[in-house]
């Protein structure tokens, strides 16, 4: 079956602009995670959804970052007033399928965000 998909694959924006990043999890997965990865670093947790609700948003760096998952499937990460420091690869992962380990998180290919 299809894996986690993310769009766009690349996004270039100007400082101060608003961006939306989309994640389509593996079908049937109830949990969805957003991570951010800077060059040479491991993924850094941002927010985790169980169903439609945010179960843990402790990793969001400030109130410019917001994420939604209104129907418990697709999620959108929204960043307002982008700053150059927001440039990174934004990774989405999902877990909770019917086969394999329930806890396993499967990652999408990421969206590379560049803020000029």
């Amino acid at each position: 079956g299809a894996g986690v998909s993310q769009t766009p694959s690349n996004k270039v924006t100007e400082k101060g602009k608003y961006v939306e990043l989309r994640c389509d999890p593996i079908s049937g997965h109830t949990a969805l995670y957003w991570y951010r990865q800077s060059l040479g670093q491991g993924p850094e947790f941002l927010i985790y959804f169980q169903g439609t609700g945010a179960a843990d948003d402790s990793g969001l760096p400030n109130d410019r970052f917001f994420a939604v998952r209104p129907e418990g499937s697709v999620s959108t990460l929204k960043i307002q007033r982008t700053e150059r420091g927001d440039s990174a690869v934004y990774l989405c992962a999902s877990s909770g399928g019917t086969s394999g380990s329930f806890d396993t998180q499967y990652f999408g290919p990421g969206t590379r965000l560049t803020v000029l």
Binding site: V4, Y33, G42, P43, D56, D103, Y106
Partner: protein
């Protein structure tokens, strides 16, 4: 809170073995190992749960020492395809399902 991985980098010749270590200061519920190639998504290798260990691949295995809060990933008879950066992700006991990742270990396998 971030787990510490060692070594930071390792270079092997094809067929050689390697061990990558992951150490946490917190009591752990599980340890997750991933491999990431340049420009690609992290690929799940295996998960080790409190109270046991799980072998994910034939020549790649791992151990989890709960008392020491450490995990090690063993790569035997390395192949060129093993090259990449290996990350451990840790889930603390009593915490949410988020993973806290180390900085990674870059493995290069040469012919």
């Amino acid at each position: 809170q971030q787990p510490v991985q060692s070594p930071q980098a390792v270079i092997l010749r094809e067929g050689e073995d390697a061990v990558i270590n992951c150490s946490s200061s917190k009591a752990l519920y599980s340890v997750h190992w991933y491999r990431q190639k340049h420009g690609e998504a992290p690929v799940f290798l295996m998960i080790l749960l409190k109270g046991g260990e799980q072998k994910g691949h034939e020549k790649i295995s791992a151990s989890f020492n709960e008392k020491k809060q450490q995990s090690s990933l063993y790569l035997t008879a390395s192949q060129l395809s093993y090259s990449g950066t290996y990350f451990c992700g840790t889930r603390p006991q009593g915490g949410s399902e988020k993973l806290v990742f180390g900085k990674g270990t870059k493995l290069t396998v040469n012919p």
